[in-house]
């Protein structure tokens, strides 16, 4: 119906809808798209405007630290403000567009990993993943991928019993950083539907509850205006940190079991360049066939080497991936040696060497001490306490990472496909890690209110008409970029809301 700047409304203008979506990021937009043209009157309340704005972005400022056993604490104050984008389209404005589903293992309860297990299976998610792929106009991810017939895109011949597999990644063009025009259409076109209204510069600063029901929202603009908002149902979708900040700032909403903000999980990559004593993270591949499947020449569809459930069960580890890439910087004599190796490997004696770089990723295990809290001493321009992130690893995280690396090295060696170099000392891991901007687990999903903030339908255990969307509901984080799973869960939520409101 319209996109409205909430600052242009008279002060205290009531905003009313059947469903209010707090947050106009990828989750909020996808949900509105699913409901566009339907019977429900839907409004999105987005904090930002159409473009990235410094004053809005400053609302994200917080503090943070990363902690891991045996590693010095790493200050992380800049991370929160640099992680997300506060504008219509959210972090879709800048994301890389990389898409992958979580693996079946990510959904499974794994007895060797505390707090693992989703109340949904990967199989049950398949139709929602399909719809999310369709929305992003990328190929679907079937549960079983037939091998490519392209000789340049052949799987590494690792022993199946080792449990490593090629995990596919695709790229969507719907990113502000990739195809701005397409993304602009993606993030605004749905508002033309007669049942949709988007309010910009509309910051929700408090969710009001009476008993087990949400009865309204307090909306604030940076120019000082305030508006009340009311609906029959609400969806909170402002990100893995901000979901927590708003709940806690709303009289501790949803936190009766002290779970909101706990179990923060993030994704990081590990790689190094080596030094005088060690080589950097590298893989030598012996086969002559191209490695385009794993390390394409240009950004695009590829596979990472993933540790599937059989590998995890065998090694008693979590998810792990190695992402291979074409590396530069091997000196000429090294390249000559690699080429010499390839000559020995090929019947004709004329092959080229294949030295690749890689970065490793390991699942960040759910940890109640890894958490987002409020910093009551510091408030933003709207008077809300700022967020404080304490990103914490346990002993198992790094031990499992190392065991996974060793497991992959042994699988490559035993198969004759290659050899792997890993030279990062455990005490260096935190400092050498590079953090992605994925915030997961802080309003985790569990059927038991004592173990989760939302139920399997994403409904807050404490409020019958408030749902949470986004990666904060992930019980475990896997390794895949979370956006596709966020959207798949949104598809599922949309179906639930349609069915519920039809009753």
């Amino acid at each position: 119906m319209a996109i409205i700047d909430a600052r242009t409304l008279p002060d205290a203008s009531p905003i009313e809808a059947d469903l209010l979506i707090i947050g106009g990021g990828m989750a909020g937009i996808a949900l509105a798209k699913e409901l566009a043209g339907g019977a429900l009157k839907v409004a999105i309340l987005e904090s930002g405007g159409l473009e990235i704005d410094e004053a809005n972005q400053a609302l994200y400022v917080g503090s943070g630290v990363q902690r891991a056993p045996g590693n010095p604490d790493r200050p992380f104050d800049e991370y929160l403000v640099q992680s997300r984008i506060r504008a219509l389209g959210g972090s879709g404005m800048v994301w890389g567009g990389k898409c992958a589903p979580l693996d079946p293992a990510d959904f499974a309860e794994r007895p060797w990993i505390a707090h693992s297990g989703w109340p949904i299976t990967r199989e049950a998610m398949q139709p929602y993943y399909d719809r999310a792929c369709d929305l992003l106009e990328i190929p679907r991810f079937p549960l079983e991928h037939p091998p490519s017939t392209d000789p340049a895109r052949q799987h590494l011949a690792l022993e199946p019993a080792d449990g490593f597999f090629p995990a596919p990644r695709e790229f969507s063009r719907f990113s502000g950083g990739t195809d701005k025009a397409a993304f602009d259409a993606f993030r605004t076109g749905f508002a033309e539907a007669p049942n949709i209204t988007v309010y910009l510069h509309a910051n929700v600063v408090k969710i009001r509850r009476q008993g087990d029901e949400i009865v309204g929202l307090d909306v604030a603009c940076l120019d000082g205006k305030r508006h009340p908002a009311k609906a029959a149902r609400y969806v909170l979708a402002v990100g893995g940190v901000e979901n927590v900040r708003l709940l806690l700032a709303s009289d501790n909403l949803g936190n009766g079991r002290d779970l909101v903000g706990r179990f923060f999980q993030g994704h990081v990559t590990y790689s190094n360049d080596g030094d005088a004593e060690t080589e950097g993270s590298a893989v030598a591949i012996f086969r002559a066939a191209p490695m385009d499947l794993y390390a394409p020449a240009k950004r695009g569809a590829h596979c990472v080497i993933g540790a599937g459930l059989p590998a995890q069960k065998r090694m008693k580890t979590g998810n792990f991936t190695a992402t291979l890439f074409r590396a530069q910087g091997f000196k000429p004599d090294t390249q000559a040696i690699a080429r010499m190796g390839a000559k020995l490997e090929t019947p004709e004696g004329n092959g080229e060497g294949q030295m690749l770089g890689y970065f490793a990723m390991a699942e960040h295990f759910p940890n109640p001490d890894s958490r987002v809290t409020l910093d009551p001493e510091h408030k933003d321009a709207l008077g809300m306490p700022r967020a404080r992130l304490t990103w914490t690893y346990g002993t198992k995280d790094y031990a499992d990472l190392e065991r996974s690396v060793t497991g992959l090295a042994d699988a490559l060696g035993a198969s004759g496909e290659g050899r792997l170099c890993w030279s990062i000392e455990r005490g260096q891991l935190l400092a050498l890690s590079s953090a992605s901007r994925h915030h997961m687990g802080t309003t985790r999903m569990h059927v038991d209110p004592a173990k989760g903030v939302v139920d399997a339908d994403l409904r807050l255990h404490e409020a019958k008409n408030l749902y949470v969307a986004g990666s904060s509901v992930f019980p475990t984080s896997g390794i895949a970029n979370p956006t596709l799973t966020i959207l798949a869960l949104v598809m599922r939520l949309a179906d639930h809301l349609k069915a519920e409101t039809a009753r």
Binding site: G274, E277, T278, E279, G280, A282, A284, F286, F330, K331, D333, T334, I337, A338, M340, G341, K343, L344, E345, T346, P347, G349, G353, M355, T406, A409, D410, A411, G413, A414, S415, G416, G418, R419, L420, C421, W422, S423
Partner: protein
């Protein structure tokens, strides 16, 4: 970077291999960078000070250095990875067989 070359030389030596399988053992290794072989072999021997050329020859080539030797070495290397018999050098995870082979080649000069 010459150290990386050491490892690559080792990787080359035992990776699998139609070509290796057809070659006789001494000839196929003659292309390896001598300095790399020496450094790798010395590193392995530092952990196995009692190893001699004779004992390594008996371990690696019990039936001589004919065409059957290389597939056998490769099988040994694969088995090493299965059983945790590995040789870590500057971060590279190699089979113990690879290390022993480099040691033998370094002793042979």
């Amino acid at each position: 970077m010459t150290r990386r070359r050491d490892l690559l030389a080792a990787l080359v030596a035992l990776a699998a291999t139609p070509a290796l399988a057809r070659a006789a053992a001494p000839g196929v290794f003659s292309d390896l960078d001598r300095n790399a072989v020496t450094r790798l072999g010395s590193a392995w021997r530092a952990a196995h000070p009692d190893a001699t050329a004779q004992s390594l020859e008996a371990r690696l080539f019990p039936a001589g250095r004919g065409q059957a030797a290389l597939p056998r070495l490769r099988d040994q290397a694969a088995a090493d990875f299965r059983h945790g018999a590995v040789f870590i050098h500057r971060g590279w995870r190699l089979s113990d067989t690879e290390g022993a082979l480099m040691a033998l080649l370094s002793l042979e000069g």
